[in-house]
Amino acid sequence: MTTILDPTDERVPVARQITPRTANSPGVIGLLDISKPRGNVLLDELERLLAGRFPEAEIRRYAKPTFAKPCPSDLRLKIKAECNVVVEALAD
């Protein structure tokens, strides 16, 4: 029997549940542009379509400073505070 030591972070996958969905109107919808080129065109159109689908909903737009780095925590907290659901685009 050979013993070796685990070189990984030993993270045991924890099965996290996603947030329960409510089938009614989404309320405030946050559209987060991760700032890769062309994503804004897709989000512009999505904003128009969502506004048509949910006339009572409010749609807010956000953008990450750069796609190459994770979303800054203050922006994440702002989105969490202001929105009921979040749509991120466009990873390419």
């Binding site: 029997m1 050979t2 070796i4 070189p7 972070d9 993270r11 190459a68």
Partner: protein
């Protein structure tokens, strides 16, 4: 000394437990030691003299050896088996025979190690006195005055490391993975996804302990938080990956500093890994540690063949892979990727450079040892010039050689480049006196300056300034010269390579700055 409790089997397989409740003489021996054999009959005489009032036990370090000793010397005293060597390690002597006299209620003294007749005789006298028994039948004058002992078996290097790894006080905290004897350990490690595609050295506890001797840092110190999993990496985890990469313990401080450097926000290893452009860290080591650990900075410095260069770079990559979870097909999205993702680490030949070494230029002391990380997407790209004799000609060549960064057509780019100037090119550059780095950077910018209109998209290549944007520019703007780099500061310069050959080389960067990656230097604590 520590006369810790033990339970060891005697020759009949019966466990003998210490302490026994009686005065005890415990003698550690090994069969292949001449002095142990010399003293075996003496210990037998002790046993015969004192058995009524004390336990005289011999503790042997191999089971086979115990049987031989018993037969060879006709021993009747209990001979205990410490072939696991755990008791030897716990008691902590260095030499066999090691003889302890332990009377209940008394502080045990230092052992007698080896054989000094006068010491043994006095001990025998003292014990007989304490036990109020006749002295043992030992013909002292027949024995030599003095014989050195032998190194205890538990101090054999391979054995000692294993024992330490298994001992209660072991610093090892990582999860232990048992690989079945029927399993091929090398194949197992491939199957677990630990490998970059090349074979690994199995990170056994004893190897990892040996690796940890390379640093004074505590094994459970957190070195960095490794993206993209954002897992904290300890010194121990770095050591495990360094073992797998093939490092020697003396490389560990360099690997630790390398992991720190690439895991900074500025370096942004997640972006470097993830980009489809295929970037990798290029690590340069400066300062005295280069020589101490035998890094290559001269002939073939950027290539294969040197263990330190090869395995330090690989160890940093393995930490990012195994602890950070960055893997091709997962979060590594490189279109083509490049072989620097296996390893890319070398030392600057400071002694062959007319300039301040990289680390001094970046604010460290000359006697500091420092590792500097660059995020590079291409290289080393050779820059060939065997003809130029004038310093400005060589500088011009180096400039033209850098024009290919990203695409030769694209100029004024805010992107790092790393220029490795070979000694023969250095010689020509400085043949007429000082040629400062600042002048070299200016020269590179001057010889690469092209009219902006050459950057406009055209039938040859649609890359560059869109036609619509160019249409809004005046002729004066379109005719203005655009050097290769947005600023000379993007050109980083070091010296390496053999003294024969007029071939310098360049590494080409990725997105530089806060949107991408910045050059990061970390001092190596050694």
């Amino acid at each position: 000394m520590t006369a810790t409790a033990f339970s060891l089997p005697d020759m009949a397989g019966e466990p003998r437990r210490f302490p026994t409740g009686r005065p005890s003489l415990i003698a550690f021996v090994k069969e292949d030691c001449a002095t142990c054999n010399l003293t075996a009959p003496v210990l037998e005489a002790f046993h015969r003299a004192w058995a009524d009032a004390a336990d005289v036990w011999m503790v042997g370090q191999t089971a086979d050896g115990n049987a031989i000793l018993k037969d060879r010397h006709g021993l009747t005293l209990p001979i205990l088996d410490d072939s696991a060597l755990r008791t030897s390690l716990a008691w902590g002597f260095d030499i066999v025979p090691a003889v302890y006299w332990i009377a209940p209620g008394q502080e045990p003294g230092a052992p007698l190690e080896g054989f000094v007749r006068e010491e043994w005789r006095q001990l025998a006298q003292r014990i007989s006195g304490e036990l109020a028994l006749p002295p043992p039948a030992v013909d002292w004058p027949q024995l030599p005055d003095w014989r050195p002992g032998c190194g205890s078996k538990h101090l054999d290097p391979e054995i000692h490391d294993r024992l330490l790894a298994e001992a209660d006080g072991s610093p090892i905290r990582a999860r232990r993975i048992e690989v079945a004897p029927s399993d091929d350990i090398d194949e197992f490690m491939f199957d677990q996804g630990f490998s970059d595609g090349l074979p690994l050295v199995a990170p056994t506890p004893e190897r990892v302990l040996r690796m940890l001797t390379g640093t004074r840092r505590s094994p459970q110190d957190i070195v960095a938080i490794v993206p993209p999993s954002m897992a904290p990496v300890t010194v121990e985890k770095v050591a495990i990956n360094a073992v797998m990469a093939g490092c020697k313990p003396e490389y560990l401080p360099v690997v630790l500093a390398g992991v720190e450097a690439v895991c900074t926000d500025e370096f942004n290893i997640h972006g470097v890994n993830a980009t489809t452009m295929g970037a990798a860290p290029v690590l340069i080591v400066n300062g005295p540690i280069r020589h101490r650990i035998g890094m290559n900075m001269k002939q073939a410095a950027l290539g294969n063949g040197n263990r330190a260069n090869a395995t330090i770079g690989r160890a940093v990559r393995l930490v990012v892979r195994n602890v950070g979870g960055a893997r091709p097909g997962g979060t590594d999205r490189s279109t083509l990727s490049n072989p620097m993702k296996f390893t890319m680490c070398f030392a600057e030949w400071e002694e062959g450079s007319p300039w301040e070494p990289l680390h001094v230029e970046r604010g460290f002391g000359r006697e500091d040892s420092v590792i500097t990380a660059f995020a590079m997407t291409s290289g080393p790209v050779q820059i060939v010039d065997q003809e130029s004799r004038e310093p400005d000609q060589i500088a011009g060549t180096l400039g033209l050689g850098l024009e290919g960064v990203f695409l030769s057509k694209i100029h004024r780019i805010p992107v790092d480049a790393l220029l490795v100037v070979c000694p023969e090119h250095v010689k020509t550059l400085t043949s007429q006196g000082d040629y400062p780095k600042a002048r070299l950077r200016e020269r590179i910018q001057a010889v690469t300056a092209r009219p902006l209109r050459e950057m406009v998209a055209n039938a040859v290549s649609g890359a560059g300034i869109p036609v619509a944007s160019a249409a809004k520019m005046t002729d004066a703007v379109l005719d203005s010269p655009a050097p290769k780099f947005a600023d000379g500061k993007f050109i980083h310069i070091v010296v390496a390579g053999s003294e024969a050959g007029k071939f310098s080389a360049a590494f080409h960067g990725w997105l530089t700055g806060s949107a991408g990656s910045a050059v990061v230097s970390k001092k190596i604590e050694d």
